[in-house]
Assembly symmetry: C2
């Protein structure tokens, strides 16, 4: 327990580091770190279980700054508590190119940054995922190895974003009692007072989704401590509404939107130094204060050592498995199992929808890889994501491995990010490809962070049929391929589906999405090949010497390409077919390979039941594109393919026309 | 008032039309229409103000089926109440190619379909926009011309989606008391009971955002009527939680997820006929029942005539303005004003950020076009969307024209759709381009519906600077250009900004987005031209005979292209520059024009601070692209441009290398 004066000086250290760094960068948000400094000080000096010497300790408490614009709060805390890779020099480099201290916290830039935040609401949903992961792993490995809290600090903006409702409703439903959400209730947004746009009774809102709720003065250390104490023993997740003054301490600007997103200015900083009785110069933390912080940073070292002892004491097999799971390595026999599956497929050559092919692969994967956590955003019967091993998780029973996420695509994706970030589990979920739009901000963040998870997106084209254009993706393949570092797979048959799953799970630093069909597809590959051909992104499926026509296609349209190839070859027109399961991986290949696959045939045709954007890279601006130029329509799938002219006949006709 | 028996038979007519149509299509969702038939019957026969003979009557009540999968409910109602363009034949064509009766309600397919729904939650937010429009127009034109209710029927899925929270929080804040949301509380989703994924106390949730709440038995006509009566006199929006049985009437499947999204099957339909004592064959509505419905459809004919009389009675100027507003035509002097603005710009040639240029144009537009309704998702000082005419709208004062939407991009965009659909207003809003991801589903629906509205998306590239990669769009231009029917503008200077705004507002059937810079830009065009060059999508900004190099660029990178052109020309290398403010409009141009603009220079270079996807159409796969290959970084904007190699020097070097 620290005296009030010590507390104040420790909190003020955060305030001055934040305002000095923002001032030096001439850019940033000083208001939140200044307002939330008391909360953070109590949390980090008295409750948060963390060890700066062992930042990846699997059983550490997670702290998520959902209000990512207040990044200097987090950077200050990391420096003050003694994370070795966060120095005072790093703080001085706030918001400068190449620094660890980016404008918003970037996962991977420095230890202790648990997730990338900034786009509002994401951190709340990430933390729900972390709390799910904790509970699941505690169920699996016991509380001696996994038993920690997840704390998240959010602002008004996080709570206004719809994703927050999805996330907190799910957390309340699942009774994630180790999740503690602290609301920095400062009543100010960029436009001005919150009352310009909102009058939500947040306490009532959280009660409605069965959270424990507490209201406190966010500047009173004892109220903060009491709230955290209560939260930690709650049987439900806890929402702490902490009334704060944004820019606390700045005599002329505190409590106004002027401190939200702009430097205070030299004059106001000087006035704040005076008001808070802080004599140290910019970026200087008085020795006694720094000592107190560093001591706080060592608080959990013993707990961490005790945990090491407990880890050593568990059965060797359990220990090995726990460590493997947190290393992110797959079980050793993973590749062999996929290989065996491919062999079996080549024996049967089934005509199946790729969503069903995915289920078949998952049946193998889930039997072998215990860390997969499956689910669907209320489309389980359509997504085929629930295999025989996947018992449903319920609020009272986390022994299952399947999440009913509800009709909440955005929180699903963001919580999956949180699960992946937590470690020990590999989340995959199910949804319709069309609804990738609902969760795009979280998919982007997964790509930016470079984390492993898999989105199973079924119903990937006009092949959806009768549901019509609101449910038929046409622009989504292009839009997802545009996201850097995301692997968007569109396999053509069961073999490619297995290969794509194999790549997705082995890829530790990129998220994946699988675009899968509703409708059945004839097999594209009929013979077993050991090599994962899909890993090249695109490959020659049907070669032809001196080809006059090359047809590029992905997914369900490979079937069309193959039919067209057969007809053209029958007419004596040498025709190649290139399957393109993953454009991003193709671009990773050596240029010579890319050139060889694209080839030099005089006629190049791409077939995809989607917009042309992106295909000019394969066929050139003068190439023929057989696909969609508009939204889809409601009707039986086969009729739609004819209606929109995406048929083997159309490909043949186009090829002949070009050659004429 | 109808007797209970008549009510039951009228409701059963809906049930049987729905189950018969789904059965015939062998596809669709019978459960919701069957469960909500009693609610719909009471609403349409006793409360809803509508006239099938005058479906576009501006003062009609709006009815939105947010749970769009229950489309047969709406189609049945339109047929039964006597909309002439919805025949029994149309119902038989449910979900068939080319029919009006698509899988989900499609705006424009038939009268009485007020909005396209299906993606869940959208309808709730649309209806909030409609209620905003009604209140604003009542304020402007008086209750004699505008005074109607907006009713919306939603399901569990709509309420789970985050967009619903954004929308209802805003509606509660604004006290939209003519908005009445009826929840078809049937406790069933596709995966099974709602309890698999949610346990929200919806009544408490709506109370927390200051709604009037009522709980009823959704099969009791008098409870339904009493709730609607109470809702219509509330001083706040009303949430009616109506407990229903999904698939009501089906003896073996009602109340289960088996009736949610699949045909009932002949056997169960026969059993339902028996259970509900319904002897009519499929698609036959007994004459007495049809008569009763048709009579109900005429209920508001007198009210509509009285409204015509009132319209005739108002001042001629008011009448003309009201009718102009609902016709969607702009004021006559609109083009002249933009033209005068362009002339003035050409005199000053200001160096400004395009967000500021947009503000300058809006200052002219908002002075002249009273139907614009501006706003921002809490980024007013950054988006520059609030001009001198734009007083803020508050819960108690709708005389303003500016919405503080709050940090709710998704509901903002969906409510803007609702405002545009309502008629009489043209909504535009502000946000960061990066957050177009947060509202992408609604942007897509605007494009699908073909409605007019403008998204002002500022901070459109790494030019954002210090905020870093979470706030720097790199894939968003490509992703938005991929959406059919959306005009994505990226103007290069103040002149192009004016031209793009002109096009956006004149385009009645396509939504627009303007990607605008945070940073200042030198003028690209320095002389006045009467023609709107941006309307061609791309045009030759700097010609060169026998050009050896063509540089294509959009927005902020046109400045770079021009600098490079100057250097190259100085070196004797003939170089053209093509400005590309709107790819979608370029593709609308005649092929000859497109070919001429793309040209035949041996070297083609595209410059855009974004991903390459889409640019191969201009430069070919072997062309040089100067842009982004990854996410951005946190740092000052100018340093970022250098760091990522997006500079005039890089363009020059690339051109010389290609020519060497």
């Amino acid at each position: 327990m620290t005296s009030r004066d010590t507390h104040n000086r420790m909190a003020n250290a955060i305030r001055f580091l934040a305002m000095d760094a923002v001032e030096k960068a001439n850019s940033g948000h000083p208001g939140l770190p200044m307002g939330a400094a008391d909360i953070a000080t109590v949390l980090f000096t008295r409750y948060l279980k963390f060890d700066p010497k062992s930042p990846l300790w699997p059983d550490r408490d997670r702290f998520v700054l959902s209000a990512g614009h207040g990044s200097m709060l987090l950077y200050s805390l990391l420096y003050l508590t003694g994370y070795e890779d966060m120095t005072i020099e790093d703080l001085k480099q706030f918001r400068q190119l190449g620094s660890k201290t980016a404008g918003h916290p970037e996962y991977g830039h420095a230890s202790g940054i648990e997730t990338t935040t900034g786009p509002l609401g994401q951190g709340i949903a990430n933390s729900v995922g972390m709390a799910i992961a904790e509970r699941k792993l505690e169920e699996e490995f016991g509380s001696e190895l996994q038993s920690h809290f997840t704390y998240v600090l959010c602002g008004d903006g996080c709570l206004m974003e719809g994703i927050s409702q999805e996330a907190v409703a799910l957390a309340g439903h699942l009774k994630l009692n180790k999740l503690i959400l602290i609301w920095d209730n400062n009543n100010i947004t960029i436009d001005g007072p919150v009352s310009l746009a909102d009058s939500t009774d947040q306490i009532a809102r959280f009660k409605a989704v069965h959270w424990n709720t507490i209201e406190i003065d966010g500047h009173d250390p004892e109220q903060i401590a009491a709230a955290l104490e209560a939260a930690r023993t709650s049987d439900r997740p806890t929402f702490i509404a902490a009334k704060t003054v944004i820019g606390f301490g700045a005599p002329n600007k505190a409590g106004t939107h002027k401190v939200h997103g702009s430097p205070l200015g030299a004059e106001e900083i000087a006035a704040t130094r005076k008001a808070l009785d802080w004599e140290a110069e910019a970026f200087v933390v008085p020795a006694d204060v720094l000592d107190a912080w560093r001591t706080a940073g060592k608080r959990s070292a013993d707990a961490r050592k005790a945990w090491d002892v407990r880890l050593d004491a568990v059965a060797a097999e359990t220990r090995a498995e726990f460590l493997r799971r947190f290393s992110g390595d797959l079980p050793e026999d993973f590749d062999a199992a996929i290989d065996a599956f491919k062999k079996k497929v080549a024996e049967n050559n089934p005509t199946v929808a790729t969503r069903k092919a995915s289920e078949d692969v998952l049946e193998i994967i889930n039997g072998l890889v215990p860390e997969t956590l499956g689910g669907s955003a209320d489309l389980t019967p359509s997504n085929n994501t629930k295999t025989s091993q996947m018992k449903s998780i319920t609020p009272t029973d986390f022994s299952g491995r399947y999440m009913h996420w509800g009709i909440r695509e955005h929180a699903t994706a963001a919580a999956m990010n949180g699960i992946a970030l937590h470690g020990g589990l590999i989340p995959y979920s199910g949804g319709f490809l069309i609804f990738s739009d609902y969760c795009r901000p979280s998919v982007r963040l997964a790509a930016l962070m470079g984390i492993r998870l898999v989105h199973v997106w079924t119903h990937d084209s006009i092949g959806v049929g009768e549901d019509g254009p609101t449910h038929q993706p046409v622009e989504h393949l292009a839009a997802l391929r545009a996201i850097p570092n995301l692997l968007l797979f569109r396999p053509a048959d069961e073999t490619e589906t297995a290969e794509c799953w194999q790549i997705a799970l082995k890829e530790k630093h990129r998220p994946s999405g699988l675009a899968l069909t509703r409708q059945n597809l004839a097999p594209a590959r009929k013979t077993y090949e050991e090599k994962n051909l899909s890993a090249q992104g695109a490959y020659e499926l049907v070669p032809a010497s001196d080809a006059r026509v090359t047809i590029f296609a992905s997914g369900s349209e490979v079937e069309i390409a193959l039919k067209a190839q057969e007809t053209l070859s029958g007419k004596g027109i040498a025709t190649r077919v290139v399957s393109v399961p993953c454009v991003e991986l193709f671009f990773d290949q050596p240029e010579a390979y890319q050139n060889a696959v694209i080839g030099n045939s005089p006629v190049k045709i791409a077939v995809e039941a989607a917009v042309r954007e992106g295909w000019d890279h394969f066929i050139g601006p003068k190439g023929v594109f057989i696909g969609m130029k508009s939204f889809g329509a409601s009707g039986p799938a086969k009729e739609l393919y004819k209606h929109f002219g995406i048929t083997a006949e159309a490909v043949v006709a186009a090829a002949e026309k070009e050659l004429a």
